[in-house]
């Protein structure tokens, strides 16, 4: 959630830490801050033009979204972390005794998926543009201003985390034919199969009976908890408004939102299981702002359907429990201090005359629905105390006594791998997703990645073809590769039985295979079959501590050969070194010796006395650049340089 720093500051009398310090504090004790973006004159780093605001991108985790997808929620966290006092959320709402919601509205809730419903009427409001401060607030977090009533509702949701909605009361059917505003029937009910709702943005959705709507006697007014309907939307002529703050079952909202493909700011909050207690704060806030900004008369009463009141859990935990779980030695006083910062209510209990440690009965704030277990309390203490203060213990040896016994397949894979490496095969990994196979994905990433591989050979053949093209760049003189991995099939006998819709009876087969090969042939078999015939004596051989990966160039390479006659008794190393040292930075890999033959000692044609034989060493040099295509001319120049160096040694002779 994007949080405006200036907006957040409104919750505090005292000055907040700088955006960077605040971000660091939140990251280390609550939520990761993905980024800090300066706003206003910001972009320039000119000190004379400092930013007017900063946007903190707060990564609220799913377990805290129910209480922290809001300014108030974040402000409370910041209060806990900084010790600064958060302004209370109390609003002086002045209702008019002459206006009664209960006289104008009759509310019926016909679904258990509605856990709370609060309604209040406001009469004679003036719809118009929002005041500048409100526009600015919404725009600072990328929301467009629509009109004062709609903006207030959006603002209240961002402030409290409680989605609220406003209906045009006069668009709600029910006795509307008579001029007097007599009680209208509003029902929160399951939709009818096929019932249509056109949302505020003009899109039509077809609902089913698993979904909730808020309806009048004739039609659905909105998709409850997800999006308002066009039929009851606020417009410039709206005079009378129904203010609404509800709470819905999170699973029901999530399912509806998923099956309609409609995710909104409201559904994202309801699906996280926000506390029903937020509704009353939001209703007060909404009422207060509507009266303040749009005028009119507020009803003195609020209809409040709230059959099962939320109750905060009471959790027993001792000082010892906390320290045992965290590996710390925090004192009682410090624990109690952290409880207070977290606004936990707690009292100490214990058994008199007992050696058992005293424990706390802890009641978290009612809006914190994620705290139910000892472990939850321990986590809260740990993050406020600071994870950085948790020591790293490695001094508790456990009696294992039996040595480590690894999974049998893992050992077989290792054994197969060593064997293949020793035989000169290099290891590759290829993709599990293929364009053919027996097991199909319901949601493939692409048409040619629809299946799970039924073999390793197809991928290995592609690998061989790719590597043959690059052979001069490679270590070996021929391409020999292997892969060990899982392949997938279906049990033929069972799947041919019938097109059974009961998929659990479809027998998937997942097997570890070994495949290896070269350009002539690829062999593939089950791991167990491969293992049968190989020696078990190969030791593990890998070490890559010093490897520094060199990026693979996308530019073509050029290869050149050079062969040199050397007198007997001179190691090939010497000419290898001269070639390597003079080849320069464009040399893509070590020169590769690809041919070697020896002429025995005998008198040569010129009649010189014999006695010395000589050997020809032929090297292949491969040149490639990381950033451009090389030209023949520059490589010719390098080769000339190498030849010249070799020529300096009178006993060496370039063939």
């Amino acid at each position: 959630m994007k949080i405006s720093y200036a907006w957040l500051q409104e919750y505090f009398e005292e000055k907040l830490p700088t955006p960077e310090k605040l971000a660091d504090l939140i990251t280390m004790h609550a939520f990761e801050i993905d980024s800090i973006t300066p706003i206003g004159h910001a972009a320039s780093k000119d000190a004379a033009c400092p930013p007017t605001d900063w946007l903190l991108d707060v990564k609220v985790m799913p377990d805290r979204a129910h209480d922290c997808m809001s300014y108030w929620g974040i402000a409370k966290e910041v209060g806990t972390l900084t010790g600064l006092e958060v302004k209370p959320m109390i609003f002086p709402v002045e209702g008019d005794e002459a206006v009664k919601t209960s006289g104008l509205i009759n509310l019926k809730v016909k679904s258990e998926n509605c856990r709370r419903a609060m309604k209040r009427v406001a009469i004679g409001v003036t719809v118009g543009p929002s005041p500048k401060w409100l526009k600015n607030r919404l725009e600072s977090v990328g929301q467009r201003s629509i009109n004062n009533i709609v903006d207030i509702a959006n603002f209240v949701m961002l402030e409290t985390g409680q989605p609220v909605h406003t209906f045009d009361l006069d668009k709600i059917e029910g006795n509307s034919k008579s001029e007097s505003l007599i009680s209208k029937q509003i029902t929160i009910r399951n939709a009818k199969n096929g019932e249509k709702v056109k949302t505020l943005d003009g899109k039509e959705f077809i609902l089913d009976e698993s979904m909730l709507v808020i309806a009048d006697e004739e039609k659905a007014l909105d998709i409850a908890g997800i999006k308002g309907g066009a039929v009851s939307g606020i417009d410039d002529n709206t005079q009378n408004v129904l203010l609404s703050a509800c709470n819905f079952d999170p699973i029901n909202i999530r399912q509806t939102s998923k099956s309609l493909g409609l995710r909104t700011d409201a559904s994202l909050r309801f699906e996280k299981d926000i506390s029903p207690t937020l509704a009353e704060i939001a209703m007060d806030y909404l009422s207060f702002l509507v009266k303040e900004i749009a005028g009119g008369y507020l009803a003195s009463d609020v209809i409040d359907f709230y059959p099962n009141k939320a109750v905060a859990p009471q959790i027993s935990i001792s000082e010892d429990d906390i320290n045992r779980l965290l590996g710390l030695k925090i004192k009682e006083k410090e624990i109690e201090d952290i409880f207070r910062k977290l606004r936990f209510e707690f009292k100490k209990s214990g058994f008199k005359n007992s050696k058992k440690p005293n424990f706390y009965e802890v009641v978290p704030p009612i809006e914190r629905r994620d705290i139910n277990l000892k472990e939850d309390i321990a986590e809260e203490v740990a993050r406020i105390y600071g994870y950085e203060k948790i020591p790293a213990h490695l001094d508790t040896p456990r009696p294992s006594g039996r040595g480590v016994s690894h999974d049998a397949n893992f050992l077989k894979i290792e054994q197969a791998r060593r064997q293949l490496l020793a035989e000169g095969y290099s290891e590759v990994y290829t993709y599990t997703f293929q364009n053919k196979g027996k097991v199909e994905l319901a949601n493939p990433l692409a048409e040619d990645k629809k299946f799970l591989r039924a073999n390793l050979s197809d991928g290995l053949k592609e690998s061989i073809n790719l590597n043959i093209k690059n052979l001069p760049l490679l270590d070996a003189n021929e391409v020999k590769v292997f892969e060990i991995g899982s392949v997938f099939g279906k049990d033929e006998a069972k799947s041919s039985e019938a097109e059974s819709p009961d998929a659990s009876k479809e027998a998937f087969r997942e097997e570890i295979h070994v495949a290896y090969g070269d350009k002539k042939e690829v062999k593939e078999m089950k791991l167990g079959d491969y293992i049968k015939d190989i020696s078990k004596e190969l030791s593990f051989v890998q070490s890559a501590e010093d490897v520094k990966y060199k990026p693979i160039s996308i530019y073509p390479f050029i290869s050149r050969d050079i062969a040199v006659w050397m007198p007997d008794g001179v190691e090939s190393d010497q000419v290898f070194k001269v070639i390597k040292q003079n080849a320069g930075e464009l040399l893509a890999r070590e020169p590769k010796l690809f041919d070697k033959f020896t002429k025995p000692a005998r008198p040569d044609d010129s009649g010189r006395s014999g006695g010395e034989g000589r050997t020809s060493y032929a090297y292949r040099l491969v040149f490639q650049s990381q950033d451009r295509t090389l030209t023949d001319e520059e490589i010719n120049a390098i080769m000339a340089q190498i030849s010249a160096k070799i020529g300096q040694n009178s006993l060496w002779q370039i063939r």
Binding site: R398, D407, L421, E462, D475, S486, E510
Partner: protein
């Protein structure tokens, strides 16, 4: 277990060509297994095709829970599915495991009751995420998961084990830190950052095993607790060797393997 000396060393250059090269991810996985092996962790493996029970439910990620959004999942097609885009919600759905955590569940289910001295496993393996690929994201990649079940296991011990791992894997000068995070199967849950080449990098998720997970496998949370951690093997390899594109690991390209 692992012989760190290269048998090739000392062989003439011509003989070098006879040895094949090992894939960097295999090397990293063996390093991990070796380091945790010294701390008594045994390798456990599990299937790549999983069911919802092991991949989600038993890990305290129930159906319809918003936390499921943390794992974009590939589902297998079944003959009974109404439409390929919306696999039906029926039971018995198969998926490609989105993490190696189901191996914990399988291992605990198969070890009843836990051995008196507790258990320690390390599970490397291939996992899958339904997401677009780029230089830092792959739809298939490797994870490694560790689990320790014992008595009175603390967050400090978790920190000790992870610290030792990174010191051995990346060098003794590496710093580690914990930060608050959330994974449904641990509580408390933390993010593990390491300071590598002067920068803090997120490398693992970890925490104490959630009591509900223990209950789900039939372990009594009053008697047993433990820690679990998991991280991306590809990312470890990229950090250690400076590989700049995760996709290179799966291209079957010897220009990569040859460097190791």
């Amino acid at each position: 277990m692992v012989n760190k000396s290269k048998p090739e060393a000392g062989l003439p250059r011509e003989a070098l060509a006879k040895w094949g090269h090992e894939h960097p991810l295999s090397i990293v996985i063996n390093d991990i297994v070796s380091i945790f092996g010294e701390m008594d962790f045994a390798v456990a493996l599990g299937p790549e095709v999983e069911d919802e029970h092991h991949n989600f439910d038993a890990l305290n990620i129930p159906a319809h829970h918003p936390a499921r959004d943390m794992w974009d999942t590939f589902w297998l097609k079944r003959s009974g599915d109404r439409s390929p885009d919306h696999p039906s919600d029926d039971l018995g759905k198969k998926l490609l495991r989105t993490h190696t955590s189901p191996v914990q569940i399988r291992y605990m289910e198969n070890n009843q009751p836990p051995p008196a001295g507790g258990l320690k496993i390390i599970s490397p393996g291939k996992v899958f995420r339904y997401e677009a690929t780029d230089a830092t994201h792959e739809a298939q990649f490797y994870q490694v998961e560790g689990l320790y079940i014992g008595k009175d296991v603390s967050l400090a011990e978790l920190k000790g084990v992870i610290k030792k791992f990174f010191e051995k894997f990346l060098g003794s000068d590496v710093e580690i830190r914990f930060r608050p995070s959330y994974f449904p199967f641990v509580e408390p849950g933390v993010e593990v950052d390491i300071k590598f080449k002067g920068k803090w990098l997120e490398v693992m998720g970890a925490g104490l095993v959630h009591p509900k997970v223990l209950e789900n496998v039939g372990y009594d949370p009053k008697k047993w607790n433990g820690f679990a951690f998991g991280g991306g093997v590809d990312r470890f390899a990229m950090l250690k060797y400076g590989v700049d594109d995760v996709r290179l690991f799966y291209k079957g390209d010897l220009r990569l393997t040859d460097q190791f």
